[in-house]
Each structure stands twice: as structure tokens, then as C-alpha cells.
């Protein structure tokens, strides 16, 4: 069976359009986030582990932590310190904006990569550099998410200081994006080598 790659570029066109639309939608979301910027309340998924002294083992259940600290039904509330009103929510809102910005950049770079692929130039000089940037963004996003989780756990630690039997842990696996980032960087190296071979081939008479 003969595989003709150049006939498959329509898929690259499709992915480039999807990436462009995603970048635009995320851009609109970012603009709205900036215009409507205020440290509003946010729910953060967590796991509560309650250790009972009279029973063996511990009970773990899913829950939410709501920031900032005003009373709301059905949620476990973390109150903010009186002398720093809104600072935690403010920081978390800023982190959310930065995260959105990083993913806009990712979508934009994916659009550029697939536009080159669609034009039958997958091994262009820019593509491997874009892949490196996407890989590093993924790694930083994971570090960011981990930092945010630690921050929320720190807030929860303060809130549950009176209850030594309850341990609050943020949910989520913090290795997925990290592994994806490393894989993308490796693909970037492959594209760099591809670019070198392509350039050499172009200058072979």
C-alpha cells in the first residue's frame, strides 16, 4: 500500500482552523477576564481526609473549598485573614489570567505549526522552535498548577487549624502536562533534525 502524505494535509488544515478558533475564543475570554477583573469567589476541588481517633483508618471524601470567605450553603468555607481582604482571591484570579494567556499562546503556536504543515513545509525553521515553546509552556503550566494547589492547601491548613483530624489535599494528577511537555520538547528535537536534513537536501544538487 502506497502512502502519500501530501494528500493528508487537509487534516492539518482542519487542526490549524480549530487551533485558530480556540486562540480567538480564549483571547475573548482573556479580554473579558481583564475587563471584568475582580477577585470573585471560586470553588476549588479538594479531598478531605478525616482521621477518627476512635475508628481504624481514615475517611476520604471529595469536596470544594470556596474563596473568598463569605458564608455559602453546601460548601466548606475558607475565610481570608481580616487584615488582608481579598488578597488570596486576587492572587488566584491573576494566576487564572496568566494560565489563560499561556494557553492562548499555545493555541496560536499550534495554529502556526499546522499552517506550515498544511503548506507542505512541516520542517520549517520556526516549527521546531514553536514546539520547544509549547513544551516549556506545558511544563511551566504544570509547575504553576502545582504551586496553586500548594497555595490552596496552605489556605486550607489555616482554616482547619482547629481540627487536627482533617487533612485537606487538592485533587489532580500533576504529572500529565509535565510528561506531555517533555514529549513535545523531544518532538521539537526531532523536528530540528528534520529541518537540518531538509535544508541539506534542498542544497543537494
Amino acid at each position: 500500500m502506497k502512502i502519500e502524505l501530501h494528500k493528508d494535509w487537509t487534516l492539518a488544515h482542519f487542526i490549524s482552523y480549530i487551533a485558530a478558533i480556540t486562540a480567538v475564543l480564549l483571547g475573548i475570554q482573556l479580554v473579558i477576564q481583564i475587563i471584568m477583573f475582580r477577585p470573585v469567589g471560586m470553588d476549588f476541588p479538594v479531598k478531605f481526609t478525616v482521621e477518627h481517633s476512635d475508628q481504624p483508618g481514615s475517611i476520604t471524601r471529595d469536596g470544594f473549598i470556596f474563596l473568598p470567605g463569605h458564608q455559602q450553603e453546601g460548601r466548606l468555607i475558607v475565610t481570608e485573614a481580616e487584615n488582608r481582604p481579598g488578597i488570596h482571591s486576587f492572587l488566584l484570579a491573576i494566576i487564572k489570567i496568566i494560565e489563560t494567556g499561556m494557553f492562548i499562546l499555545c493555541a496560536f503556536l499550534v495554529w502556526r505549526i499546522f499552517r506550515h504543515v498544511a503548506r507542505n513545509q512541516p520542517f520549517s525553521r520556526g516549527n521546531y522552535k514553536r514546539l520547544y515553546v509549547i513544551g516549556w509552556i506545558f511544563i511551566f503550566a504544570e509547575i504553576f498548577a502545582f504551586g496553586r494547589a500548594m497555595y490552596i492547601e496552605w489556605l486550607a491548613f489555616d482554616a482547619f487549624a482547629h481540627d487536627p483530624f482533617t487533612l485537606v489535599r487538592t485533587t489532580g494528577d500533576f504529572s500529565n502536562l509535565l510528561i506531555a511537555g517533555i514529549v513535545i520538547i523531544v518532538i521539537g528535537y526531532v523536528f530540528k533534525e528534520g529541518h537540518r536534513i531538509y535544508e541539506e537536501q534542498k542544497l543537494t544538487v
Binding site: E199, E200, L203, V205
Partner: protein, 69 residues
């Protein structure tokens, strides 16, 4: 690069234009220009054979090694 391409010298000796050579060896003028200006990274044996045949010369007459200073 330490390899000097003397294609223009050979063309002048044979009183042949680049267009004529490109027609004889069936290689585009742009590719021959890359070779003539020394920008080429590699040359295929088939291309070299065709050029040598068209110019009635040896590979050593087209290429020359010069130590870089």
C-alpha cells in the same frame, strides 16, 4: 568552504552558457547556480557524471580543494 567549484571556469573554457548546460544535464538553472556559487552542501554522483559528460571533463577540473586560512 574549503571546496572551490570551478564550474564557471569550465563553462567559459567550453564556451557554454548555464542555460545550455542545464538543458544538457536536465538540471534546473537554480540548482546549477547553487552549485556554481558554492552554496551547495552536496552533489549526487549522477549529477556529477552528467556534468562531466556534458563538459567533457574530469571531476577534479570542476572541484578544487583549498585549505582555509
Amino acid at each position: 568552504m574549503a571546496i572551490i567549484v570551478n564550474l564557471d571556469v569550465m563553462l567559459a573554457k567550453r564556451k557554454m552558457s548555464l542555460t545550455e548546460l542545464s538543458e544538457k544535464v536536465d538540471i534546473t538553472i537554480s540548482n546549477l547556480s547553487i552549485l556554481k556559487t558554492g552554496k551547495a552542501k552536496a552533489i549526487r554522483f549522477t549529477t556529477l557524471e552528467a556534468i562531466c559528460e556534458a563538459l567533457d571533463c574530469q571531476p577534479g577540473e570542476i572541484f578544487e580543494y583549498q585549505k582555509e586560512a
